[in-house]
Symmetry: C2
Subunit: 82 residues, 2 copies
């Protein structure tokens, strides 16, 4: 298995790890997203910043982040590594 597929597995595993903490295991709540940002990006975001992040990712306007919305976040992150 190539490194790329391994990286895909990590991306999925990270989502599942945080999405599984509370509520629906298939979506990220704001609290789970905040923890993911803190632990995975290693930065302390203010609750205002997390709110903005959450709103930006939450394309369909429900109160959670789906895996698809999370992948958009990951792609944006990858583009920042330009």
């Amino acid at each position: 298995m190539g490194e790329l597929i391994a990286a895909m597995g990590i991306i999925r595993k990270v989502f599942d790890k945080y999405a599984g903490e509370e509520g629906d295991k298939e979506t990220l709540t704001k609290k789970e997203l905040s923890k993911l940002l803190r632990e995975q990006i290693g930065e302390e975001f203010s609750s205002k910043e997390v709110d903005e992040f959450f709103k930006g990712l939450n394309q369909d306007g429900d109160s959670v982040i789906s895996y698809q919305e999370y992948v958009v976040f990951v792609a944006t992150l990858a583009l920042m590594l330009e």
Copy 2:
């Protein structure tokens, strides 16, 4: 550093590895994309399939795949792991 950032590093490293083989080191030629697909996805794609793949990724219609276009491919791949 979180696993997510490590996965981003792998995504970038894989791009650089193949983009660096011929021509411009910052873009993928069709030949480089074909090799990436074969080695990273582990499937033998026909040249017709690679052509279609290439056309689909090549948003700006030039003759190479940029890092941004590659990230769209990677995000699509990640979504297939739904």
